[in-house]
Symmetry: C2
Subunit: 375 residues, 2 copies
């Protein structure tokens, strides 16, 4: 059994916690005048266009203040549509000038995975708070570099795991934490969709994506297994499956993985670009919780043992997520998705790929409580 | 990747099919006078007492005619309760005399797993049709011996997989077969219960059970993965997990396994004596089917994509199962659970244990359509 020790990954952790406790310039300003924090989206793909920008029309603590795009036509369209100030429009060449723009408090990096680290680090160096879309990066080394840059700059860092602000998911986490049904024994998390589109999309190019289904939907399954058990895994084994290698040329099509948790619970995850599945299940000593769908843009749906159907009003998850982060910056509330959480998941991703390379060998993990947020 | 070839296991298959096509003495007799076939239960544990005997009060084509028990008190109690003819009461010493008893047409072996082969073979040699409770035996070699004995005696053989006669399960099989939602991409089957009872029970003694969770609930998961995909797996990998080794001294507590199917679908199964879970999920190109519970004594519950809740009147599954087998004997209808199905599952069980011994290595299987029943 191979071992990945915490020691090799936690060099920046203590620095990170220290920085998170610092108050920042933006925080002091906002507390004084109650203004919304200005957000700049970096990368205007479909997620920015159809999820983040519309959500930013409803947010209470942040608003769409600027954009960063390499496409002048998009810049013009967005400027008009959202009435943006022209001085808040950047391209990838002049992005670093954002340091001088007081309208921008937060930079949300929504680029292909391999570009996350570069732009998150540049945003931090520009003195801006950072949201890094998931997966945080394409390696643990890159995650460390992002965390270090944010710590050194004294800015806040979050990862785009919107579900931590989502009520069905929060109810699941509450049931786990309060042991409503006793100890958790088993978690199952399947996240997959059938990909048959443009074979040249960046998600199918390992240089840009860092991996396939695992890097895209798989991180949801990893997240789900962890918040559905309330623990970090102590080991992982994994298998890869392939049916369309001509389409999935250099990214994983389907992966399953098994986790062991400190209390003895077992986790089974499955992720694929070759099936449509979206569900979570936690089994406890005295009951269970099911979410299905479990991680799409919602509304989610869920039920528990005892014949309970969960029901919450629907709001855009991204609105809740961005407001939570802005609130954290302004008022010091808990950062629900700190950078360490994204880094931890990348440690697990790398262990899964390692297990696959080693023929399914069990890989030991020593994560402690890295990335587990309480309170 | 290790290989298990079909050739090493199919020596008795062609003989088996030939024998199944033969008409038998019982068949001819029953067709003439329309009588019910007489059933003898071998082993009067809780499954016989609370499931099979009550079911035999409702069956149309078979009835409780006799018992085989080593406990005189049970013999007396059952004789009185069910008004049994005293000549139809056997113990394990005089069991073979059943050959001379025309009241008994079918022998149902409900003993601990390690005794299945011995009593099934003796029942066949006595000229009786045989139902062997699941799992069929504790090894493929024993399954072969049972099949051979039944073929040689010209008697019918079935395994106690009651769900093949159960309407929710039959609807799932129909959806798979008719490709109602297109090709299947993924199946998930979890079957588990928390065992904390008598540490001396036979299920926890490998000499009697042949294994733990996998031999008990795991064969349901294997079954479920196969009828939920309509295919036999072409490979399997597996992992074992343990939290209470002092209780599960020499049987497996928790096992997960991954299957590959000929059409590229992936299967994930989980079985445990340390969690309460009972569910099945099949994901297709254009929809899904979920059963939950999926394999308890019912009533089962199920739903499909498109907002459909499955609903069928409840009857005892064992009643349906035993009637189906009696009907097969009398009228030549399809044997829904032939011995080859039980043998195939034992091949998979052995491959799962082998994968675990080999650290999760993928084991190749060449099962063809062994045990797949159509029509």
């Amino acid at each position: 059994m191979k071992k990945i020790t915490r020691r090799s990954f936690n060099t920046t952790l203590s620095v990170g916690i220290g920085a998170m406790l610092n108050s920042t310039k933006a925080c002091a300003e906002t507390l004084q005048d109650g203004k919304k924090l200005g957000m700049a989206l970096v990368g205007l793909g479909s997620y920015s266009e159809y999820q983040l920008a519309p959500s930013l029309q409803d947010t209470q603590h942040t608003y769409l203040a600027g954009i960063v795009t390499g496409t002048p036509e998009k810049a013009a369209k967005w400027t008009e549509k959202y009435g943006l100030d022209k001085k808040n429009i950047y391209n990838y060449e002049n992005f670093d000038d954002i340091a001088d723009n007081d309208d921008i408090d937060i930079v949300y990096v929504v680029l292909p995975n391999s570009m996350h680290a570069d732009f998150c680090i540049r945003a931090a160096k520009a003195g801006k708070h950072v949201i890094c879309e998931k997966p945080m990066a394409v390696s643990v080394v890159e995650c460390d570099a992002i965390i270090k840059a944010c710590n050194q700059a004294g800015v806040k860092l979050s990862v785009g795991y919107r579900l931590h602000s989502e009520p069905y998911t929060q109810e699941l986490m509450k049931i786990v934490k309060e042991k409503k049904f006793g100890e958790v024994n088993f978690v199952s998390a399947d996240a997959a969709y059938i990909s048959r589109g443009n074979p040249n999309q960046w998600r199918l190019d390992r240089k840009l994506s860092g991996g396939g289904a695992l890097m895209n939907m798989g991180v949801y399954s990893i997240q789900s297994a962890i918040y559905g058990s309330g623990q970090n895994p102590t080991s992982v084994s994994a298998q890869e499956f392939s049916t369309r290698p001509e389409y999935f040329k250099d990214t994983d099509e389907t992966i399953s993985a098994q986790f062991e948790f400190p209390n003895g619970a077992v986790g089974n995850i499955y992720t694929s670009h070759n099936a449509n599945i979206n569900r979570h299940y936690s089994s406890f000593e005295k009951g269970w919780v099911e979410l299905e769908p479990a991680n799409n843009y919602g509304p989610l749906s869920g039920r528990t043992s005892g014949g309970v159907t969960l029901s919450y009003p629907h709001e855009r998850q991204q609105k809740l997520q961005m407001d939570d982060f802005a609130h954290h910056i302004m008022y010091g509330s808990v950062n629900k998705v700190p950078g360490e959480m994204g880094k931890r998941d990348m440690i697990i991703v790398e262990a899964i790929y390692e297990s696959i390379r080693e023929g399914g060998e069990k890989i030991s993990l020593d994560l402690g409580n890295m990335g587990i947020v309480t309170g």
